[in-house]
Symmetry: D2
């Protein structure tokens, strides 16, 4: 974005000299950069892209041979948008990875200012403990480890366990407020029994005098068994939204707001044969397919890009790309985005249909 | 941040091959990057730095010879942190520049999703119009042009007018939700008379039934005459805060929150001879000195950096640098930071004193 | 509270004449009334009192012989605090009654500005429909009919159905904002199927773009089967609160606040043998015992009043009476109060233990 | 509201006996009372009424001869709605009185849970101290003494000082949460200097780290000089509201909400010759005329009541009476109501124009 020529015009020698002087004063002329810095509509580097689960799964299982869980601390393949290689970003504002825990392994306790979500893709017997409350995880379950909450993971089962990590890491890096602590022991001391937080806050009641004041949901586990059933039930009584099918947001019942303070999370049902209308949003969205198959058609400006997806694939649609989702079979899809951040900052915008 | 060797260890051939394969799948091993991505404490590229006003002023006045207001659209020198050359950032998360309007010039009407503040440094007769409501500006005045509000500027006086622009541009770019429109005419049609918004919302009353629902203050002009007097009055009845002297935040009286939804803004008084205690904050702060002189002492890890400032200088303290402010004369300093963003996202942290 | 003598002192003839003149001008001397109007601590007319369910039940069943459902519109016995006879108040600020619906009867659709709760005491097959969404009710279920929501009731079962009504009627009467409409037909048209609201908003998810903006919970049915289980589960992992045992508040998951905007509602578990510590609260509370038996010991100033309760009894503790609850068997008790109103208005206060 | 005959029908002997039995059980049949308890529209006891200031002023000055300030504690004439004699209410939900302090007198320090406003009608040199911060008061000034804030009054001038008191006393009495303390000394120790709170919070800035968490405005003095000027300025740029002329609400700049948590307060300008359109509101409003004269025309059902007012008169319009205000001269009127309470509880409603 440096001092590029404006509209390809040649810069005079006088200006060159002047710009050099400015550089020496840690200044630069806005007028040579304005058109790049502030654009009429979003100009996004990240592209729509899909990670084929079978491919990545093989890579991930191979990692268990390349590096021990202990050495890796977290055995994760980062999913990097092809245009953002080396930047640890799946979209401009979000990080995603696939994490593997082999039977008997643990990922030791730590905490950090970036918030993380885990979306379970494969395997049983894996668990996450948040501040000592353990929760066993099944495919489709959505787990939160909020900013600065101690967490560790393990696999008490007999098969590999794989989940998608989603973090607001690029945002925290952008701001700079990065903090991380290792817990002195491998695991955080055992705390409340499994499910305690869900019972305490998730049943539309709560103990008097107990005010979870955090910005994140005290319920940190949203099991698929319940969320899938919710989707199923509502599909019987709700008209399909032309832009989303049936799309639910995970919420924090102690505030009514999004479950996480920096990441919006959704579960979506598209019935067989459904095709959504053209839709644009400033959200940067990462999708993880749970069931079904279909495609996403993205308008790339002059052309159209069609990406075929099936269960367990991960794909992204960055900010402002017009797109349509189409399902060949009943499909349920988990997704996460930066919508909550954009909304808090007054930046969120969407556009329905053609211009 | 790519696949650098972990702790300087040599990567085996097997791994190299594996990593190459991963790169082909738009993946990368987290374990080679974790230590760089998530750090125990903030690792900040930007450095504490000062722009000497007399130097920049000369550069800025020279720009009037190099480029016309019309050609430039905005005649602005961006202040780039020396470590962030070509990135249009004064700190990781913030943009700042110095804007010049010569007598008789105008900067034509446009609007954009990044929010902007103007802090007047020099000259009389300059004005900003926000959605058609004009406000004339004097040194020390703080003006808001909120996200997507139409605004234009001009100089009806006989001397150059210079102000500092502060924008959340890097944040908006990070997220992607960038929008900008030019107004078809040079200036937005004349609207409410000068001062109307301030009278309507700033006198601790407001018309019934009128709910400014925006996230930003409907008062877009905070004149120095009033804010300086507020500081003066309070200094008589308020104990000096050991970390801040007397520091006021500009607020939106329709919500009680910060005046801007993405930028926190402050005015600070340090009495002659006052030296603040050591202080760390995750804020990325840009200071603009109005009156007085003194220095800022910043702990750079092994060493200490002392930066002398005087009136009209601009200096920055990025996230988490321990620092102390010292005034040789009574000093008033305007500053802006990303505190409001960090607070909304649950990332704000400060530390008082030594560790 | 008129112009009573102050402290029993005789009022002089001059003053009498003066006071008479004032009365003619619709004035009165505050100084003759101040001690009665503003007291150091609450001076409450209502007394702690219990309604024996077996007694009231008989009365209520008799009402079916005295008046038809149609003629009565609602076949309800109001529970009036003995000190507030003729005032339709169980405490100063709350209304309660017991409503009976015989098999095959309906209570026709209407709506009103007072908000109502239903707490089911006896019988199966009864239902409430709120804006056309029907919910069948079992003993222990808690149902909300919010302000101005259309509602009707019926009994499709073969036995009498009895529930407690709780309304903010005295508050609405005090303020004056009373509105009521009869629906033109007996029943409101059938709407969403049973349970739809609970699935839509009560499972810690919600459809995107759907913002229930009401002040009351869109979930209007809180079944005992779920709330009792919640209490049971939490009792295993939670220390008994010395003042409340284990006391849960029903919440609105779309805001995190109380389920109703004018009535606070609770479900409480006291284990066998538990006796709470002495406690005072400005709440006016009505209790409905679901299971168990025990007593409440109330400090009446010079003396102590002990009220024995057992399942299905209803009893009240008005504002600021020091009291203790004691359970001879595991007891679950529903209660409602004006705490939410007091909290919103800044008037809520509690005191733990002796003075 | 007791067991009156329903619609004038004679009650049978059987029912009489049954009702007598119910009364013995502290019960009553709702069906005999429903029509009185829940009405289609508000049925209000209080009536529109005016207190002629010259008349009440004479009465008030006479009180200084009848009772000493010390004996009276507060020398106040309560204004009682003619239909609510002996109830200390100017409308169903609000208390108002006129308070006199003679030169040299003080009204000693106390605090209480009811919140109070003072609206100065006559005289200079009077002051109120709130938690030790003194404010001198002039006619037209609006002063808040929030719930449980220590306050005392005095008159350092040479003429009588008279103000209107407005309290939420009936509401607090209704709920029961009444608390009052006398300060051990006559006056609360001197605290911050006059105007400190206004400077600290009222200038659209505030000291960082200082969060007034109260529900009431920390600014407790709203001088008429400033509010009148605000009205004047806005009148030049604002279209007259057909129902209100130009009506401003006093706000708490730390929240953007009403200045008081239980009483809404307004200042209104009606230009000479202006007549508002017919308007109904559930608010119970008390008006105090500052300048001008005119009339209020109230629809009393079958008839119309016209009340002529001039400066310093006080008049009331209870809930839901259709009314119109008309000014013969430019008029400024202060008013207070229970709108904020009704809004918080979801009960507020208004109707514009004829039905």
């Amino acid at each position: 974005m440096g001092t590029k020529p404006l509209d390809g015009k040649k810069i005079s020698e006088d200006r060159k000299e002047y710009y050099g002087k400015l550089r020496g004063h840690s200044c630069a002329p806005l007028w040579e950069n304005l058109a790049h810095l502030i654009t009429p509509e979003p100009v996004i580097t990240a592209i729509p892209y899909l990670w084929d689960y079978s491919e990545i799964r093989e890579d991930l299982l191979h990692s268990a041979k390349v590096i021990s869980a202990e050495e890796a601390e977290r055995r994760v393949l980062m999913l990097e948008n092809p245009t953002l290689e080396g930047k640890a970003r799946i979209t401009e504002s979000m990080y995603a990875g696939l994490q593997l825990i082999m039977p008997g392994e643990v990922a030791r306790a730590h905490r950090h200012s970036p918030a993380a979500l885990r979306f379970i893709v494969e395997g049983s017997g894996g668990y996450t403990a948040v501040n000592g409350e353990k929760t066993y995880m099944e495919p489709g379950d959505f787990i939160i480890t909020p900013s600065m909450a101690w967490h560790d993971h393990g696999n008490d089962g007999s098969d590999p366990v794989i989940w998608m990590d989603g973090l607001d890491l690029p945002l925290v890096n952008h701001i700079g407020a990065m903090f991380m602590d290792h817990y002195p022991d491998e695991q955080f001391p055992e705390g409340q029994p499994q499910g305690d937080s869900s019972v305490r806050y998730g049943n539309n009641m709560r103990p008097i005098g107990e005010g979870p004041d955090g910005l994140d949901s005290p319920i940190f586990s949203y099991p698929y068994s319940k969320s899938r059933e919710t989707l199923e039930e509502l599909s019987k009584t709700t008209e399909w939204d032309p832009y989303h099918g049936l799309k639910l947001e995970y919420i924090d019942p102690t505030s009514g707001g999004p479950a996480m303070s920096t990441i919006s999370t959704f579960l979506q049902l598209l019935p067989k044969g459904f095709k959504t209308e053209k839709y644009q949003t400033t959200e940067n969205t990462t999708y993880s397919v749970i069931e079904g198959k279909g495609r996403i058609i993205v308008n790339m400006g002059d052309s159209t890009k069609t990406i075929e997806w099936e269960d367990r694939d991960i794909f992204v649609v960055p900010c402002w790309y017009p797109h349509q989702l189409e399902a060949d079979e009943n499909a349920t899809i988990f997704s996460f985005s930066d919508k909550v951040v954009q909304t808090k900052l007054g930046l969120y915008r969407e556009h329905r249909g053609n211009k």
